[in-house]
């Protein structure tokens, strides 16, 4: 404190100089940040404003004029069977892929963590799908799941079971796509859980054992699970958001078919906006998509704020 008062006088005197240097610092900061700021406005802010605005118009690419139609697009959306189907399919897909890939990711991480043998081999094996080109691997899955010449059905026939037309029938297509989705994301969640697990201090387990948590299952619920709280919230949010954004497999394998059974949100937006060129209508769909993402993010923030404090 004494030091502070001692040097406070000269600083008072040199105030104008400090101001000049502060102004200089601010100017340099502006210059360093300006390119990023301009690009954010150009490629994020302006397009978002534009997409919200376009959602209130009947703009179609190729026509030079358009007019504002208020909430007409949204009214049409409510009655649009394709869109409703698409929302429902996306929900079902997410409801399968997110929990399954989180639970499997956690299980694999726990198994790998508790087993010394072949640790890096297993990690690589489960992670490989994440590092692979999804469009390419989807093509491989298409072959694997081929109704007549695919290995999966050959295997089923071998043990006397009839193989379904995995990607070709309306009843199974969404589940087949979900399976591919799970296969693709488990490794990613596993890596995050592994990182979370190694961050847990060893002595917590010892302490829990002294406190009477004798079985490893007890210790799991007493120590591991709570300590993984922040990781789990993060993994859950990312898993849900990525599942809602499913597109590649649908575009590559099914084009939304058969009979709209695998029509998902981004694919519907893509079709309306870039194939039928109904930009206004597709913009309204995009706003719904964006709203879903925003709600998801806020849910995460609130959860992180409330639950994950120790």
């Amino acid at each position: 404190m004494a030091d502070m008062t001692a040097i406070s006088l000269p600083i008072e005197k040199s105030r104008p100089i400090v101001n000049v240097s502060e102004r200089h610092e601010a100017r340099v900061a502006w210059m360093l940040a300006a390119p990023a700021m301009i690009l954010i406005v150009l490629f994020i802010l302006a397009p978002v404003v534009a997409v919200i605005t376009l959602g209130f118009t009947d703009f179609e690419l190729g026509y030079s004029t358009f007019k504002f139609v208020g909430f007409e697009n949204y009214a049409e959306l409510m009655g649009d069977r394709t869109f409703r189907q698409s929302l429902w399919n996306t929900t079902v897909y997410t409801a399968i892929v997110a929990p399954a890939s989180i639970l499997l990711g956690l299980s694999v991480a726990l198994l790998i963590e508790s087993e010394k043998l072949g640790r890096s081999f297993f990690r690589t094996a489960y992670f490989l799908p994440v590092a692979s080109l999804l469009v390419a691997m989807a093509t491989v899955w298409q072959y694997l799941l081929h109704p007549t010449i695919g290995p999966v059905n050959s295997l089923l026939n071998l043990i006397g079971l009839p193989g379904p037309n995995w990607l070709g029938s309306a009843g199974t297509v969404l589940y087949s796509l979900s399976m591919i989705g799970v296969w693709q994301t488990v490794g990613f969640n596993m890596i995050l859980f592994l990182a979370g697990l190694t961050a847990i201090p060893r002595d917590l387990y010892a302490a829990a054992e002294i406190d009477g948590a004798k079985s490893s299952l007890d210790r799991f619920f007493l120590v591991t699970l709570p300590m993984l709280g922040p990781t789990t919230v993060f993994v859950t949010t990312i898993s849900i958001i990525n599942a809602v954004k499913v597109f590649e497999t649908v575009k590559t394998l099914t084009e939304g078919g058969p009979n709209k059974a695998s029509e998902v949100l981004l694919f519907t937006i893509y079709q309306e906006g870039f194939v039928y060129l109904r930009v206004g209508y597709a913009s309204a769909m995009t706003v719904v998509f964006l709203a879903v993402l925003v709600v998801m993010m806020f849910a995460q923030y609130r959860l992180v704020d409330r639950k994950v404090h120790y």
Binding site: A33, F43, F127, I149, I191, L192, K245, L290
Partner: protein
């Protein structure tokens, strides 16, 4: 005691191996089928080693229909450009936000947080209209420009720079370095872990992205690997799975090879960035 222990271990190892087998099965079949002739694919799908090797024929077909070299080259160019521009734009901005005082810092932070919420799928409609009216469809510009700004890069570097000691920067200032000089000669050399992590995030994301290239590119000359594979599938009449698997093998290999070579960096990168955030 030891009895149950080894039983538990055996159970664990069996589970892990079974799972690994399922996860690797697509790769095994991809490699196997890429070497099979058309007739063998139709008759015996479960035998893994081709009776007659058709690798050369299938790879020749894959290289013949679509120019694979061009596809991979486009992928390298597009991902390389995107990554370099993102870093050049994001680092100075993150440095300013982390270490300099200026009025717009809070506004900028709000913009970054907003940007984190918005994926390309949400901005693609207006961007497409804009690129279309500027006659920029089917160009590297269209493929790269929307990703020139990565708010995620800013966010990541910002956190990394905040943890850097201020003394480092003060010392450089006393040496008479300009702020830009500090960024280039003090910040960047100390930020390699963050830059590597971001490189992995960025390259994986854009190498795999199908949505935006599909929208702006219809000319095969500008196709990125995923889009090129779609073109290849469309050009492939019927079910020539041998050629198709050869093509997928060629296209999957670069990133998988990179991953196998730099596995540790990949894992660190993902833990640091939470990939695809």
């Amino acid at each position: 005691m030891t009895e149950t222990f080894s039983f538990g271990r055996a159970f664990r190892l069996t589970l892990l191996s079974l799972g690994a087998l399922i996860f690797l099965a697509p790769y095994i079949f991809m490699i196997s089928t890429a070497g099979k002739g058309q007739s063998e694919i139709f008759t015996s799908s479960l035998s893994l080693i081709p009776t007659q090797f058709f690798y050369l024929e299938n790879f020749a077909k894959a290289f013949g229909r679509v120019s694979m070299g061009q596809l991979l080259w486009n992928g390298v160019i597009v991902c390389g450009l995107i990554f370099v521009i993102q870093v050049i734009i994001a680092i100075p901005c993150a440095y300013a936000m982390a270490k300099l005082k200026f009025g717009a810092a809070r506004l900028l932070m709000a913009l970054v947080m907003l940007g984190l919420l918005v994926p390309i799928h949400a901005t693609s409609l207006p961007l497409y209209v804009a690129f279309d009216s500027a006659a920029l469809l089917n160009s590297y510009t269209a493929l790269v420009a929307p990703f020139s700004i990565s708010v995620f890069a800013i966010f990541l570097f910002l956190q990394f720079f905040r943890a850097m000691p201020d003394d480092l920067i003060h010392a450089a200032r006393l040496d008479g370095m300009s702020e830009l000089g500090i960024v280039m000669r003090v910040i960047v050399p100390n930020a390699w872990p963050a830059i590597t992590a971001f490189a992995i995030f960025s390259v994986v994301a854009h190498w795999n992205d199908l949505y935006w290239p599909l929208i702006v590119v219809s000319n095969q000359a500008y196709a990125t690997p995923p889009l090129g594979l779609l073109f290849f599938r469309a050009a492939e009449a019927g079910d020539d799975y041998g050629a198709l698997m050869a093509a997928t093998l060629i296209i999957t290999l670069p990133l998988v090879a990179a991953f196998l070579l730099a596995q540790k960096r990949f894992v660190e990168g993902i833990t640091m960035t939470g990939l695809k955030g």
